[in-house]
């Protein structure tokens, strides 16, 4: 029987490269103007999954994402790096989902895959930084979770041993399978796409899955299934305080340091 691994991934706007046109005049986010990337920690999760695959006989890695059809790009990317398969949950009925509705949709999709041994995902996505979807998928599937994983120590058919990061140290935990693991940015970088694999799957269409095929309660999907509502969005406009602008001349710096010393700040 083959060993089944699922990787949860997300295509995200590249929030590190936000340009001036990133916001619409009404304060909403202009997603079209933002470049997208494979969420960085999800790539680390993919690498950990591929390392498990390397160590096991007959293991498969399936990448699951939710998003617009364009998110197929990261499925192709993942497959060129070594994943076996993947699909996009894409449907207008998924739109507007918060983490609860997202984790419900993802967990229903995973249920359709049958028995799963391991699920990996990034700890958090750079567009929300919530770190909630991983633990919520684990709860919905009623399996254990290991968050903040940074290193795979060992794995076999029955268990996995992981080093995880705490605020002030690390912890080595062993979990019986199945378990869901979320990987931090300290995980190993993902291997590069393989040209041969890239070519082989260049023409393949990535599977799109809609809400009808995951046996879902439609009331628990998308905006409808999301308990959190955005009440207000504010563009961040800085409140100007009285600021003194100095040129870095000897005289100006001398005066500043003397002032700070006399005010007992330095």
């Amino acid at each position: 029987m083959s060993f089944k691994i699922v990787v949860l991934a997300k295509q995200v706007p590249d929030t590190h490269n936000v340009g001036a046109d990133a916001m619409n005049a009404d304060g909403t986010v202009n997603r079209a103007a933002l470049p997208t990337v494979f969420n960085p920690e999800d790539l680390k999760a993919l690498e950990m999954a591929l390392r498990v695959k390397d160590r096991m006989n007959d293991a498969t890695v399936t990448v699951v994402t939710m998003g617009p059809p364009r998110a197929a790009e990261i499925i192709k990317d993942a497959m060129s790096r070594g994943a076996d398969d993947g699909f996009v949950l894409s449907d207008a009925r998924f739109a507007g989902a918060d983490t609860l509705a997202t984790s419900y949709a993802l967990s229903q999709a995973i249920r359709q895959l049958g028995e799963i041994d391991l699920i990996f995902g990034g700890r958090q996505a750079i567009d929300g930084d919530t770190a909630q979807v991983g633990p919520q998928v684990a709860e919905k599937l009623e399996i254990a979770q290991i968050t903040y994983a940074e290193e795979l120590l060992s794995v076999d058919e029955k268990s996995i041993t992981i080093r995880r990061r705490l605020e002030r140290g690390t912890e080595v935990v062993k979990a019986s399978l199945p378990v869901l693991v979320t990987v931090t940015s300290a995980g190993d970088d993902c291997r590069f796409p393989n040209a041969h694999r890239l070519l082989r799957q260049a023409k393949d269409e990535v599977r799109m899955i809609n809400a009808d095929s995951i046996d879902a309660d439609l009331d628990r999907l998308g905006l409808k299934g999301s308990p959190t509502k955005v009440k207000r969005i504010e563009n961040v406009v800085l409140a100007h305080k009285e600021s003194m602008v100095l040129q870095p001349t000897e005289e100006a710096l001398n005066e500043l340091s003397a002032t700070l010393i006399s005010e007992h700040i330095l």
Partner: protein, 340 residues
Amino acid sequence: MNNVLVYCELSEKNEIADISLELCTKGRQLASQLGCKLQAAVIGNAVKKAGESLYPYGVDEVFLADDSRLSPYRTLPHFDVLSRLIEDQQPQIVLFGASSVGRDLAPRIASYLRCGLTADCTSLEIGSHQDVKNNKTYDNILLQMRPAFGGNIIATIVCPETRPQMATVREGVMKKEVFDNNHKGTIIPLTVSESLDKADKAVEILSREIEEQKIDIKGAQIIVAGGYGMGCKENFALLHEFAHLIGGSVGATRAAVDAGFCEGERQIGQTGVTVRPKLYIACGISGAVQHRAGMEQSAKIISINTDPEAPINAIADYTIIGDVMTVIPKFMACYKKNLK
């Protein structure tokens, strides 16, 4: 009555963690405003003393789960105890630290209860919300503010229909303050042993390595912080030299940490630590909102930047336009001269 509940974390010394005391302080304000009780959940091993230490922070009821299997923290045993407690008590608000514990536990609880959870809130208030579409008004609900979308916007999140309303808050964001040294609460022991048997088995801790905290910038009075504009790791050495001279600590932005310029423990901002020094010197920092969230309460801010338009300059008391690598040595020379 539906109360406000704080999930309390324990330090390595088995005391209530600072983040939880900060949440109790906030929770006290919210509970007083709502006219309800402040409750705390303390889940661990031999934690009666820790539980009682919460009274001065205004906690009225401390739910105590005491069992050797509850320490150190593991997800499923704590999930088991806390989810039962919340189902039983039906609090209207539950607060967690946005720590490796809180961010592990809170989402699992929210999923189980099918309620909303807002991560990394920078502000929590009681207010009202009008749902225009359904023509409904919700009074006395929790308004949860958090930076979103890479920090380019501040979102106010509400959970009008589901209870409890849950939020996580990072350490240092809220102030820890004694409410009343004479405030007396009660301990309510929870029975846990039976239900824990099943939850105990899934994940086993083989070993833990807790490092002595070498870097602690939280309490520093002066912070010299570097951003991506420092250019490279080597240039950070100048910040250390500068900080050493003026008796400060070195901090950094997420961009600088991600670029490998310095250790992650030095990261200041929404996903790092929050600081309130008397002097904050921002070197080559543009000032993304997540970074500012972690330092804008500094008493005095100096920005050194080649870009006169850098957002950080807007909250700086002094802006020095220039390259940090030339400005800092000059400033250090002036400082030494003026000290004499």
